[in-house]
């Protein structure tokens, strides 16, 4: 029984079959085709940001998801890599060195790796709380230094460069966003593939073992500290690559790129996406960037919603979005996913309506408290109304309460359907 259960996973871990290559090929084709689907400049800007965030989040998950190390200062490695890249950009321009732009992220990665080697030499001795605290301390230290050491970090206005320096690379000058997009996509695919392959190497596998039971890993003859150190260095390298791409895309780096807020954001993104699966941070980065760009245009309170979403994820879905998706795999395997469709519709639609009602209430409270005096008109969900009148409040309240009540009433149906879809016994009905 146990043998039967372990053989397929061994096979999957050992070789790279055509089946395991399929997602990569599809993702590559998809990324190459994206600019033809979304042609506007703003869409490409968003996609650039998304791709950089994906690399950064994946590198963060090497620590948190695969190595069990919670870092509160990961933005430092991306930031320092980025700062070095901007300086290299300026240096190449001044001395006209023959360094093509597409190779620049490697240098960012190497500087990220260098810093990670120094910090990792003392921070990876322990995982858990000590590691988290050292990462916080080092992060705050470097973020504070960035304001003091003006020569390197450029003080409060940061340092800026020009990506169109030097010779064109095979005729491409990187003047346009679209050219930068393909450069970033190239690095995204390369680094995502490398990170995936790293998780398949013996060191990557041992990182999982050390995360789950460091004592046992030590008894097997592995040094938990060295395994953590290797993961940490590799993670710093890929964070540095993300930093280099950031430098190329935005051509400016400031203190904001390496402070605690940025480190917290990447923790949020990674956890939201799900730390248990390799593709989790990718989902997290995509969803978060969309929320950030789309939601922030709609409402001032987007950070409140994202914060609430994050806390709810930690409390109820510790596997994140990827965990929720993968929960449905057994039902599909059993061929019973169809049972879930109707219960999902009757629970989720009231839930979504209820959440919108709640958001409407929150927005109205916010408007009531913070709108300039005398202004009582507000627009919400394409309708304009008077926020001081009773009717909209009553409507929002009734919609919220009724929708959540329907959701609660239908919850047992969903639970029963879930149970039926996932149990092995034959259906009795």
């Amino acid at each position: 029984m146990t043998e039967q259960a372990t053989t397929p996973t061994n096979l999957r871990a050992g070789r790279i079959s055509t089946l395991s290559a399929a997602p990569w090929v599809i993702a590559t084709l998809f990324l190459l085709a994206m600019p033809f689907i979304f042609q506007s400049n703003s869409a490409i800007t968003i996609m650039n940001q998304m791709a950089i965030t994906i690399i950064f989040a994946l590198s963060y998950n090497m620590l948190l998801g695969q190595g069990g190390m919670l870092s509160f200062g990961h933005a430092v490695y991306m930031g320092v890599g980025g700062f070095f890249c901007v300086h290299i950009m300026n240096m190449v321009e001044d001395m006209s060195l023959p360094l093509p732009l597409p190779l620049l992220p490697i240098f960012g990665g190497l500087f990220g790796l260098g810093l990670a080697t120094i910090v990792g030499s003392f921070s990876t001795r322990k995982a858990g709380t000590v590691f988290a605290m050292i990462s916080l301390g080092v992060g705050e230290l470097i973020a504070a230094c960035s304001i003091i050491i003006v020569a390197f970090f450029g003080g409060e206005e940061g340092v800026s460069g020009d990506r169109t320096y030097g010779l064109p690379f095979f005729g491409v000058e990187f003047l346009q966003q679209i050219e930068v997009y393909y450069l970033i996509v190239f690095w995204l695919i390369v680094s995502a593939l490398l990170m995936y392959l790293f998780s398949r190497t013996p060191v990557g596998r041992m990182a999982n073992a050390v995360r789950d039971n460091p004592e046992r890993a030590e008894f097997l003859g592995y040094s938990a500290r060295w395994v953590r150190f290797y993961s940490f260095c590799a993670s710093g390298f890929f964070a540095g690559i993300a930093g280099g791409l950031f430098a190329i895309n935005y051509e400016i780096l400031t203190e904001e790129n390496l402070n605690l807020t940025q480190s917290g954001a990447i923790l949020l993104i990674t956890f939201l996406g799900g730390i248990g699966f390799f593709f989790g941070p990718i989902i997290g980065a995509i969803v978060f960037t969309l929320l950030q760009t789309v939601l922030s245009l709609q409402t001032e309170l987007w950070q409140l919603y994202v914060g609430a979403l994050f806390v709810a994820t930690v409390m109820y879905f510790p596997g994140g979005l990827a965990g929720v998706l993968m929960m449905h795999v057994p039902a599909f395997r059993l061929g019973r996913a169809g049972h879930l469709v109707v219960p999902y519709i009757i629970t989720l639609i009231p839930a979504i309506i209820g959440i919108f009602g709640l958001c409407a209430l929150i927005e109205m409270i916010f408007h009531l408290r913070h709108a300039p005096l005398g202004e009582s008109e507000m627009t919400l969900f394409w309708t304009t109304f008077d926020s001081h009148a009773v009717v909209p409040w009553l409507m929002a309240l009734v919609i919220t309460v009724v929708a959540f009540a329907i959701m609660r009433r239908n919850m047992p149906t969903l639970r029963a359907a879930w149970h039926r879809a996932n149990s092995l016994e034959e259906e009795s009905a």
């Binding site: 948190l64 069990g68 919670l70 509160f72 003392f122 001795r125 322990k126 858990g128 709380t129 000590v130 988290a132 605290m133 050292i134 916080l136 301390g137 080092v138 705050e140 230290l141 504070a144 230094c145 003091i148 050491i149 003006v150 020569a151 605690l260 917290g264 923790l267 949020l268 956890f271 309170l301 950070q303 409140l304 914060g307 609430a308 994050f310 806390v311 930690v314 409390m315 510790p318 929150i362 409270i365 916010f366 408290r369 913070h370």
Partner: protein, 318 residues
């Protein structure tokens, strides 16, 4: 000499304020093994609640009621949030408190806006207590010192001399045995969490008028409080006290003495480069002590964690 005395008093005020936060945090850590990232957020809530109450009932009612509300909120967070996340392990717990800190900051901005609140020192305490060579010491600072020292003595008395304190101490080391003896350990945990956050609330109430009541106040103090309990040794109350005072004095003295690094470098025997702008080390020459003051605690923490991971007074390796 007089300036040193003034700075000693200022540092003492800062240190004792830090101690009120770190005492609760370190107690919570030694009970549940979780560092409460949202601890400073409860400090901020204390200040905001007290401000709101002081609008209607005056400062003293705020001092009395706001910590109670904060304590109840804290106990609620433990009961309905942390206890639920506890089953997933320590790292998700830490992430949960981190998310909570973000959420509380957003909620405070939602309710009170981004500007600083006009939360002021009560009029009874708006006078100069005494003066040292022309430097006047406001009475409010003396009041802050008395409140914090009083709380420390009360805490020490409860923990070491009363039955409740005995149970708490026993539950720290052997939770299962204490549970087997018939005590409700989860309730003890909830109580400690509530009291710890209420202490943070008190700190917020009395610090709000001096340091300013604004949404960034939790963020500003939060990481320093962590640094404090790590330096003092996680779980050690005395360590928290010593480290708080140490950090209070270090930051105060660093801010007060304008020592330029150029003077030190020249005293050692280096010569100042002619053209500063060309030198790669120009920042080293223009650096002053007040500039690097804010990063000294972090430097100290990293050093402590590297050289003595259990902290100054900690018994266990964290």
């Amino acid at each position: 000499m007089d300036l040193i005395l003034v700075n000693l008093i200022d540092g003492l005020v800062t240190g004792l304020l830090l101690f009120m936060l770190s005492a609760g945090l370190t107690l919570i850590f030694s009970m549940m093994g979780v560092l409460n990232f949202a601890h400073a957020s409860f400090y901020m809530l204390g200040a905001y609640f007290a401000f709101q109450i002081s609008l209607f009932f005056g400062f003293w009612m705020g001092l009395l009621i706001a910590p109670l509300i904060v304590g109840v909120l804290g106990a609620g967070v433990e009961r309905y949030g942390l206890r639920r996340v506890h089953q997933y392990g320590h790292v998700p717990e830490l992430i949960f408190t981190f998310g909570l800190a973000l959420l509380i900051e957003e909620l405070v901005q939602f309710l009170w806006g981004k500007n600083q609140m006009p939360y002021d020192i009560p009029e009874v305490l708006q006078f100069t207590a005494f003066a040292i060579a022309g430097n006047s010491i406001p009475a409010y600072k003396i009041f802050m010192i008395f409140v914090s020292v009083g709380i420390f003595i009360a805490l020490l008395y409860i923990l070491t001399r009363t039955r409740v304190g005995m149970i708490i101490q026993a539950a720290l080391s052997y939770p299962r045995t204490v549970e087997a003896l018939g005590h409700n350990v989860p309730l003890v945990f909830m109580g400690v969490f509530g009291v710890g956050t209420a202490l943070a609330g008190v700190a917020g109430v009395i610090a709000g008028p001096v340091l300013g009541t604004f949404p960034g106040m939790a963020f500003l103090l939060g990481s320093i409080v962590f640094v404090t309990i790590v330096i003092g040794g996680l779980g050690s109350l005395w360590g928290a006290l010593v480290a708080s005072l140490l950090i209070g004095w270090i930051t105060t003295f660093a801010a007060a003495y304008n020592i330029a690094f150029a003077d030190i470098l020249m005293a050692i025997g280096f010569t100042m480069p002619e053209d500063l702008d060309d030198s790669a080390l120009r920042d080293l020459w223009t650096l002053t002590l007040p500039q690097i003051g804010p990063i000294l605690p972090y430097l100290l923490m990293v050093l402590i964690l590297v050289l003595r991971p259990q902290g100054l007074f900690g018994k266990r390796d964290a």
